[in-house]
Symmetry: C2
Subunit: 823 residues, 2 copies
């Protein structure tokens, strides 16, 4: 009876342990070498050991370190980015010309022409989406949201691999070549980071890659290089990358970014000059406004109005995009088939948009013929397009002609252009292809600005009188200001001013642009998050929201208001069984280690993997074998006369295919081991589990940051952002009294409402009751909504702890009996 119960228990127990161990082993194998990010933060770099390993590169390394690894790294990064940027530019232009060529060749038949135009777009988008899906689904999207998350310390799997690089570059080129209202600025932040990450993996820069701090620093600097290379706007690009990617930024990285982007820009321009036979290096969308009197001070209210309109427009854009994205996500639930194919949606969207843009169709009313760059060039035109409301009849150069239509006034085409492109872009950036929203929004903003400018020119045909002279209104200047304002509003950044001025090559409209952008940001920031934060919410990435301007309550909320008080912990004196229980109960990535349950003094935290390896070491094959050997030696002495024990009495336990393997390796010495039957195994395990945990070889992270109950939310937020934490313990005179994780912070910052519908997965959700609503239901709920671990893992790349290897030898009990056969 007793044995029966025990055996029953044992069965369940073994099964539990086995399932648990297998699950853990699988997860470990999946994520390769896995040590949580926090341990990496605290580990000492093992660069020196790494150096010794790679003998042949030693001298090269020495040479590089003589010149300066960093300079060379960023020089190479600059060259690489310049080259990538230039090659993509070339490819995209070719693809865009291809569509026009098809359109031109088929002009004999309207329907064929339409088919050709639309088919071309759809085909490229389908290729882009398909390629992304097949090669690396991580390449889809803008990349800024993901980089923001990565730089916060969360490691997103597969986001910085060569596959992703290839997928991103090729898919982006095709997506942009299709003529959809997409941009390439945001993806270039991702591409630059990819280049940086890949460069780090070169043997010569191994030292950077292997030191986590340096790697992160390099990644941050590489991130800053992104946009600068694309738009030939080095300064604005670096600033933009910084603004949209960081909360806190090291000035050191900013310098590095500038260095690299200068190299990139130079290389890009040199390539352009060589290849295209351009005469020299100039701005991309050069304007020719008068420099002596570009605008009058009395025009300022108009610029300010433009800024405010842009602000509302930017917020609307973000809102619209999120509504569409969430709508599509909901559809997924009852339309799994279509979505699984992943290509139906992009086909639909690209078909709709390219149909509307078809130049002989509806597109003729909204300059659908023009690519984004062409449209921008015309919008920044120096001249006024209307006189007394009627289109001016001067000789338009090239593309500006399309803005005039016999049936619609210039105001009409501009308004149509702005409005149609607005929702098209918001729609287009929900497709599963690499995309950026910056450039299309810039163009839309330029359209809006031009519209306002033309209206001003209509209302004040003689210009605004400033003293003695008459200066006409320059609608192109409004276009510049509008472009900066709308793109600034959508991305919540000020550097669009610099970027636009760099793009146009004229600085004359600096002040109105600044004012408009400031106003646009004021409006947009108070209404909606930036497009990148919005995407973060849609994608449910683990990120802290930005603090708003007016959020004063963050200074008044204390940690004690938001912390979780019911913390699970281990103590110095706990047994392996306690460990097992805690590990099976919670999914925490790290557990606090206390001196004792009575004193509650916090000693530090231990990672889950460490605890798992402790446990597996305790129950490891090696120790089992050891134990068996010892017993065998004893048994030998006792039963030295016996010679033929039953050889396969443990068949009931044989389950794994490993048996044969081990049997082949070992020679049979099974005599005297008949004693090790179920009961003994269980007994041995139970005894092992009852032992006190030996933490000697265990890496204990000191609780690097400890908060006080009365620390303000603002300070907590700052510390979390600065140090990329995902949790911190709250102590009172050394005693652990609570824990705060990113999730609590996010809740507290957003309030309870704003996150509705876009709940982000808390990394430590399972082990706590919210102190505010400390009901059991809450805990259960949190466990229920915890997402699968595949998408977002904190899994790190580097580890020097060989405990992992030990862990991998942790096998379910069925192996034990087999092991005894091989001595």
């Amino acid at each position: 009876m007793d044995a029966g119960v025990f055996s029953q228990m044992y069965g369940r127990y073994t099964q539990e342990l086995g399932v648990y161990a297998k699950e853990e082993a699988t997860r470990l194998k999946e994520s390769g070498e896995k040590v949580s990010q926090r341990s990496r933060t605290l580990e000492h770099d093992n660069g020196r050991c790494a150096k010794c390993k790679i003998g042949p590169f030693r001298w090269l390394r020495f040479l590089i370190s003589l010149i300066g690894e960093d300079w060379i790294f960023f020089f190479l990064l600059g060259i690489l980015m310049g080259l990538t940027s230039w090659a993509m530019e070339l490819g995209i232009n070719m693809l865009l010309k291809g569509q026009k060529w098809v359109y031109g060749r088929l002009d004999s038949n309207g329907f064929l022409q339409y088919l050709g135009w639309v088919g071309y777009s759809v085909a490229l988008i389908v290729f882009s989406a398909g390629f992304t899906q097949i090669v690396s689904p991580q390449a889809a999207g803008s990349g800024i949201s993901e980089m923001k998350t990565i730089l916060r310390g969360v490691l997103l799997k597969e986001y910085l691999t060569f596959r992703t690089f290839v997928a991103k570059v090729i898919s982006l080129a095709f997506a942009l070549g299709s003529g959809m209202p997409l941009g390439k600025e945001a993806p270039f932040v991702h591409i630059a980071s990819l280049c940086g990450a890949l460069l780090c993996k070169l043997p010569v820069f191994r030292g950077i890659y292997e030191n986590e701090s340096r790697y992160r620093e390099m990644l941050a600097a590489a991130c800053a290089v992104g946009v600068g290379c694309v738009l030939a706007a080095p300064v604005g690009g670096v600033l933009f990358s910084i603004e949209v990617t960081f909360t806190f930024f090291a000035v050191r990285s900013y310098w590095r970014g500038f260095f690299s982007v200068t190299i990139a820009a130079f290389f890009f321009r040199v390539l352009a000059v060589w290849y295209k036979d351009e005469e020299t290096v100039t701005a991309l969308f050069r304007t020719h406004f008068q420099v002596d009197f570009p605008f009058d001070l009395k025009e300022m209210p108009a610029f300010a109005l433009l800024g405010i309109i842009s602000g509302f427009g930017g917020a609307l854009f973000v809102y619209l995009n999120r509504r569409i994205a969430l709508f599509i996500k909901k559809q997924k639930l009852f339309n799994t088939f279509l979505m699984k194919k992943c290509l139906v949606y992009p086909v639909m969207v690209s078909f709709l948009i390219s149909s509307l843009l078809f130049p002989s169709g509806f597109g003729q009313f909204m300059a659908g013929e023009l690519t984004q760059n062409e449209a921008l060039v015309t919008l920044l035109d120096n001249r006024t397009w209307t006189k007394d409301g009627i289109a001016e009849e001067f000789d338009y150069i090239g593309n500006a002609r399309v803005w005039m239509h016999p049936q619609v006034t210039v105001f009409g085409t501009l308004a149509l252009f702005t409005i149609m492109r607005f929702w098209m872009c918001a729609l287009a950036i929900t497709m599963p292809v690499p995309y950026g929203a910056f450039m299309p929004v810039l163009v839309i903003g330029a359209g809006l600005g031009r519209l306002v400018g033309e209206c001003m020119a209509y209302w004040f045909p003689e210009g605004i009188h400033a003293g003695h002279a008459i200066y006409p209104i320059v609608p192109g200047g409004y276009a510049v200001v509008g472009a900066a304002a709308l793109s600034g509003a959508v991305s919540h950044s000020f550097s669009t001013v610099v970027m636009v001025l760099e793009l146009t090559g004229q600085i004359s409209h600096l002040l109105p642009a600044l004012i408009a952008v400031v106003l646009a940001n004021l409006v947009a920031q108070s209404l909606q998050p930036s497009i990148y934060d919005s995407i973060i919410k849609i994608k449910k990435l683990p990120y802290l929201p930005e603090l708003g301007w007016g959020q004063h309550e963050v200074y008044n909320i204390r940690v004690e208001d938001i912390m979780v008080r019911d913390v699970q912990y281990i103590t110095l004196s706990c047994s392996y069984r306690d460990l097992l229980n805690i590990l099976m109960k919670s999914r925490l990535k790290a557990l606090p280690l206390l001196k004792s349950a009575e004193s509650m003094i916090l000693l530090g935290s231990i990672e889950r993997t460490q605890l798992q390896s402790l446990l597996s070491q305790q129950l490891s094959c090696a120790r089992r074998l050891q134990c068996i050997k010892e017993r065998g030696a004893e048994a030998k002495k006792l039963l030295s006369t016996e010679s033929n024990p039953p050889s396969n009495n443990n068949s009931s336990l044989q389950t794994g295919p490993e048996e044969g393997h081990i049997q082949v390796r070992g020679h049979r010495r099974t005599h005297a081991f008949f004693t090790l039957v179920d009961l003994q195994i269980t007994d041995w395990e139970a005894r092992q589990l009852d032992e006190r945990v030996n933490f000697n070889n265990c890496k204990i992270n000191p609780a690097l940051i400890q908060l006080l109950e009365c620390t303000s939310l603002h300070k907590t937020y700052t510390i979390f952002s600065l140090l990329g934490l995902d949790h911190a313990y709250v102590t009172r005179i050394g005693r652990l009294i609570g824990v705060v994780s990113i999730k609590e912070l996010r809740k507290a910052i957003d309030g309870s409402m704003t996150l509705k519908g876009v709940k982000v997965a808390p990394p430590m959700a399972t082990f706590r009751n919210s102190s505010l609503s400390s009901s059991q239901n809450e805990t259960t709920y949190l466990q229920a909504v915890r997402p699968p671990e595949e998408h977002v893992t904190d899994a790190p790349k580097h580890t020097e702890s060989n405990n992992i290897l030990t862990y991998l030898t942790f096998t379910p009990k069925s192996d034990i009996v087999l092991s005894i056969n091989s001595e």
Copy 2:
């Protein structure tokens, strides 16, 4: 015998205690309310209480919080800065014109003219230096170094007061009006911070001022506003301020800075338009280069060379300036009289410089007549000054004429201008007046660039052939590039590119400027610190040096290599006597609190002031009186018949002037207190000191940051910089094993050599042996070099702990006897 020994001990003891207490009391009074910065970091803001206090402003505050306190704050800051900047501009221009007027009026007599010219300069400099000295010596210098230190968390006394503001603004105007090669950019960072700090003190913004986190954040943003207002270069200005002031920067503050600077720039321009009747808002030093082909790609090597020369020049400038400053400092030792007057040195310097600049004398060979702005305008001239090496004879507009001299070629005047101004500026910025080095260096750089440009034009008179067309060299473009490169090299910043382009209003030379600045920074950063870091070293401010580009060893040095192992601590079970001993032995601002000396488990740290107040509470008058009353009651019972005890038997103990005061307050009830004689007092004190410390009412800061032995130097540096720490404890599984302070870090980063001669005062030097050279001598040495506390204090402004008040009642023992008279 026993009593004798005791009495002797007691005497010494009392004296020690008295001296110690007086010293502490004085220090406390001096620094006002004093709580160390670390506690402020951890304190909960007391904003709510503050609100209640200021009743009348409550509704105004509500209104403001409705609109957004921050926006209003930065709007006002912008207005204020615009106004300040504009008013100063006006004043400086008037003063500069004054010198020319004097020079013009006295042209009948050469000597008188000379006297007038030099006397004017000297007089203004003397006034400036004197005014600074009298009103606020803290106003002298650039201010960037100080702000850098303040933003790191160190509170420099008197640096952000209204007196300093007045002194800075007025002295700066006079210093610049004197025509010395000084600039106003760096002081404007200080002025902007002053404006921000003063605005915070307004009752409506009381909430900001009283919350330390918000105050620091506002200060950081205000700092970014500085330079942008001055040069009408909002974008470059904000970036420059950020680059030279921060190590890590919050993007949030950057936005705020942009907002404020936009307001400031707008207001400044509007004022300029209104006042000067300027027609509109344009760049300050507008250039008119051709936009179609500003430079050829083949000119790049020349631009690169200019960058490299500028890099060496920048490093030389910083070196020269430091040599001069240190030389002057040394002279101080044996020339105290001259230095004490503080005006002799500026008189000497300004006399020398203005004599050399005298336009009819040596100045004629180096355009001494021109003010800096005028010189810059001419240097950026669109035309080439030479043809075949001979000065072109076209009609120079205005000031450009002075560059031509019958005896010297244009090359000669340019070279002389560059070289002479170079050392003059390095010399001038050692004067004790408010100064900036940016503008003069910019002008020198422009001179250097022009020189290179004119040489290029001389060597390639037909321009560099680019394909079919001939484009002549534009020496003005070289001047732009040179200006950016030299100022970038001196300040170690990249944003000078943006600033120069904003100043000239043309973006055409962006790429060569970027390349030159990158190269200049590469050279300069590897040779010398920036001018601001150099000044920090000269002034011995407590600041962490920047990490160099090539310092890879920071990734390999561990905390255990640099930490101090011999830490002084207090334990939970220690007595008041231990406390007293430790307080008297060390000057630490905070002491670690351990669970016990055996376990060494770190519970947190307690500030010196807290410990002092604990001690003073234990020995306080109140407790003495309490004790006396109790005894008195006892004595009353015992000796109720006695009526006239000796009234002044304790005269030997009366030392302080406080006696009369207290005697007046209290009425005499001295009966029965004759028992409280020396021995009893000593006895009482001894008993009090033997008691275990009651930490219940003591604020214990948890050791917010704990490092591991194996944390890398780089990570430690980052954490210190990010969080503005000045020390952190090193723990192993909760056990305190060492401490690292800024000083160890600085040592480790700089190596032992580089700081030679410019040793910076360590805030916690006294209590540790360096683990690397753990000799007793080292400790003694450190104690010897510890500087007086007046200059740099970590003393904070806010405290809600009323322990401070208690502390102030801590009085030396001589008072005790007096106290017993007042019941």
